[in-house]
């Protein structure tokens, strides 16, 4: 039991809090220097491939997910416990101090950092009453014992201190709440298409432990158009300049409205945020099979691979007969072919082209198994060849049609942009923001409020009324303490109050 008490005393000491703070700073660093799985899973794998010697060790230490690792949690949990253990006793002391009047007037006022003494023509009662009046007007809390007055101000300093620490704990509650109930989903929507807020529609979805699918607000968003503009000048050529999505929203209640989503202006639909977080190109194609039937028609989402939107994608025509048709290739918004091969040199669609390989094979049975729309499963397929045995590969611009050796054809009708929308709900965010604002308020109170104690004693003597006044500051600097003491003494009738002691600077 004694051991527990010693441990607790250690944990809640300021020294331990200080060391824990420094440890927290230290353990947060590796996560900023190494790639982190929750943010960039692909870079983690790249890094591990590049550094095989330490990859397993780092993995075991949790260095690729520092902020979710047990040792990081251990540090901040210990710090929180230390903080609460530190602050709860201080709340009790503070609550007690609030109920009590200021401390009694000390016997000797001359030893205080600032003090003054002299005689007054007033009576003892008049002097102390006048002094108390002045102190009250200056918003001191006062206490009168006979002919002495004790006063204190600056209670808000400790209040601010407690508020700061409590709001820190409150912020952690907000973060925890948010982690449990928040959700975040990403979905790619091509211009002209729509998205409904339900789990099956998302390409990627993550949520906290307390999330239920019923929490999703029902609404539908049509992306009517997406505008992207890029720098065409010499400086930062190709840098993004404008992203805007013009949408229509149908609320769960039935009403419809139009809206524009921009990068810093998310759309808020019934409390759910919709952000614009990415964009790319979707070539619009028509695949006609060897029998002359349309096997596929519509936009196909291609995924950007670099800053100039060299985009990779596949066009699948499972309904093509007599053989399955699949196309794999690149969409290049501003295409050139040089010694580095075909590539895009500008992110905007100035000279769009498709570079495509054709795969074909026996018609596949419907398995119902989900398949990625961004990659072609090549089991049983082979590349289409011309009668003289060459692999079929071609480039095609919008408006062109390519006739294939087997009698089928691919028409590149047009291109559209797609936008990646992130739909998220962060129910605890207001608490996090509110508590940090409170903590700023608290720390300003605790740093700028200067607690001060003042005393005055009036004693009847043979030579008249003897008045002593003194003061004490409980903060670092004592600006204006001497003035306060002098003013207090003057209020009690001291004519030319001469300070008996200098205030330490």
């Amino acid at each position: 039991m004694a051991l527990v008490r010693v441990f607790w005393a250690q944990l809640t000491s300021m020294r331990t809090a200080l060391i824990l703070l420094l440890v927290l700073a230290l353990v947060a660093i590796p996560g900023s220097l190494l790639p982190q799985r929750p943010v960039a899973p692909i870079r983690v794998n790249d890094w591990k491939t590049a550094n095989p010697a330490v990859a397993d060790l780092y993995e075991a230490l949790g260095l690729f997910d520092v902020y979710g690792s047990p040792w990081f949690a251990a540090v901040y949990l210990l710090l929180t416990v230390s903080l609460i253990g530190c602050i709860v006793p201080r709340i009790q002391v503070y609550a007690k101090a609030l109920r009590q009047p200021p401390p009694r007037t000390p016997k000797v006022l001359g030893r205080l950092p600032a003090s003054v003494a002299g005689t007054s023509a007033l009576s003892a009662d008049e002097a102390s009453a006048a002094a108390e009046g002045v102190l009250k007007a200056k918003r001191f809390r006062t206490r009168r014992d006979g002919d002495s007055v004790a006063a204190e101000r600056g209670y808000l300093r400790e209040f601010g201190n407690i508020l700061f620490h409590l709001s820190f704990a409150l912020m952690l509650v907000g973060v925890a709440w948010n982690t449990l109930w928040a959700y975040k989903g990403e979905v790619i929507v091509v211009e002209g298409q729509a998205f409904s807020n339900s789990l099956t529609q998302y390409d990627d979805f993550s949520a906290g432990g307390a999330f239920r699918p019923a929490n999703l607000q029902p609404f539908t968003i049509w992306v009517d158009s997406f505008t992207a503009k890029f720098e065409t000048g010499e400086v930062q050529r190709g840098a993004a300049r404008v992203f805007e999505a013009d949408v229509r929203v149908a609320h769960g209640a039935g009403s419809t409205e139009t809206a524009r989503i921009e990068v810093n202006h998310p759309l808020v639909v019934d409390g759910t945020q919709v952000h614009l977080i990415g964009h790319g190109y979707a070539p619009v194609v028509t695949v006609t099979d060897a029998q002359g039937n349309t096997a596929y028609s519509g936009p196909v989402v291609f995924l950007p691979q670099d800053g100039n939107f060299t985009s990779l994608g596949v066009i699948k025509a499972p309904d093509a007969r007599p053989n399955y048709l699949g196309f794999e290739g690149f969409f290049l918004p501003t295409a050139i072919v040089d010694e580095m091969g075909p590539r895009s040199v500008f992110p905007d669609a100035l000279a769009p082209e498709l570079f495509v390989n054709v795969w074909t094979g026996p018609v596949r049975e419907e398995t119902g198994r989900p398949e990625s729309v961004y990659s072609l499963t090549k089991d049983g397929l082979e590349q289409m060849r011309t009668p003289d045995g060459n692999v079929v590969t071609f480039r095609i611009a919008p408006g062109q049609v390519i006739d294939l050796p087997d009698g089928s054809s691919l028409s590149f009708d047009d291109w559209r942009r797609w936008t990646k929308l992130q739909v998220s709900n962060e129910p605890g965010l207001w608490l996090v923001i509110g508590s940090v604002l409170l903590s700023v308020l608290g720390m300003m109170l605790s740093m700028y409020v200067r607690p001060r104690r003042l005393w005055l004693r009036a004693t009847e003597t043979a030579d008249g009324l003897r008045v002593e006044a003194g003061g004490l500051d409980r903060a670092e600097s004592s600006v204006g303490l001497a003035d306060d003491v002098a003013e207090l003494a003057a209020s009690a009738g001291l004519a030319d109050a001469a300070l008996t002691q200098e205030v330490a600077p």
């Binding site: 200080l18 947060a28 900023s32 870079r43 930062q236 810093n264 720390m443």
Partner: protein, 306 residues
């Protein structure tokens, strides 16, 4: 064309700050002299080269005043450069590292000159002009980029709120760290009982410590607000308020180190020297966050090249 009008005063300010630093260096060196002269007298050498103290004092204050005057001129040129940069770009001038350094140092020099004007604290001269000439020098040589509009993620009112708060807090952290370093030097000298030369011109160690604390006390809530404003902005722009982006992580590291500093000032065994070292550590993390994170790590804050 307007771009040149902005670059020229910026380069000019770096040169003028360098001259100001030279003047302050001469001031320091002159202040050192009496101590050595006195030693010579003690050994009995004496001679005509021993300068009269009054003449020396005149030299010290002359070069001190030249240093401050040059800093005022440099600051005028510097601020003109920042304002013209903003006018030429048609937006607030803190969209990349070059612009942030120059704007942040403009806040720092104004802060310093106010201290000189109101409190007569020209003893900050040498370290502040050192910071200014190194900072402006690096800005115009290494970090310079031509004017360009902002990427869409920066089109926000938070672009003003978040970055101005960061620049002012950063300026204050730098001034606070300078005071902390001077405190460490002066404190050491006081302990050894050898407060001579330039050190004698500094305020007492306790006063330096107090000043350093006041500056940090101003900067810390502002830095907290900077992080909060950044989080709110991140929520608007990227759809999450905290994502352990390297910049976010290091801003937290900086915050935690300064929180430790504030606690250390009231903890037995830590107040004084160790607390001052924490203030120095804090400014190191601030600079790393600013330069190291942009150049060494991959994150969402690296949108404008350097």
């Amino acid at each position: 064309m307007t771009e040149a009008y902005s670059s020229l005063p910026m380069v000019l300010s770096a040169v003028i700050y360098l001259l100001a630093m030279t003047a302050h260096a001469i001031e320091w060196a002159s202040a050192r002299k009496p101590a050595t002269d006195r030693e010579q007298v003690l050994v009995g050498a004496g001679g005509p080269e021993v300068a009269a103290p009054a003449e020396n004092e005149y030299r010290v204050s002359l070069f001190g005043r030249i240093g401050v005057a040059l800093t005022v001129v440099g600051a005028g040129s510097h601020i003109a450069g920042v304002v013209l940069r903003g006018l030429a770009a048609g937006r607030w001038p803190w969209g990349n590292m070059y612009e942030f350094i120059t704007s942040s140092l403009a806040f720092a020099v104004v802060f310093y000159l106010v201290l000189v004007w109101r409190r007569g604290w020209s003893w900050l001269g040498l370290p502040v002009t050192l910071l200014l000439s190194v900072g402006q020098g690096l800005a115009v040589t290494v970090f310079y980029v031509a004017i360009a509009p902002l990427v869409p993620a920066l089109h926000s009112v938070w672009f003003v709120i978040h970055i101005v708060a960061a620049a002012i807090a950063g300026a204050a952290f730098n001034v606070g760290a300078i005071a902390a370093i001077l405190y460490l030097i002066r404190d050491r000298a006081e302990r050894k009982g050898a407060v001579g030369g330039y050190l004698a011109r500094l305020p007492k160690a306790a006063a330096l410590d107090d000043f350093s604390f006041r500056v940090h006390r101003f900067a810390f809530p502002l830095w907290t607000f900077t992080i909060l404003a950044g989080a709110v902005w991140a929520d608007y722009a990227w759809g999450r308020f905290w994502g352990w982006d390297p910049k976010e992580t290091w801003s937290l590291v900086t915050w935690v180190v300064y929180a430790a500093y504030l606690h250390a000032r009231v903890t037995a065994g830590w107040k004084g020297t160790r607390a001052a070292w924490l203030a120095v550590l804090g400014v190191v993390t601030f600079w790393f966050n600013f330069i190291g994170v942009n150049l060494l790590t991959v994150g969402l804050h690296s949108y404008a090249g350097i």
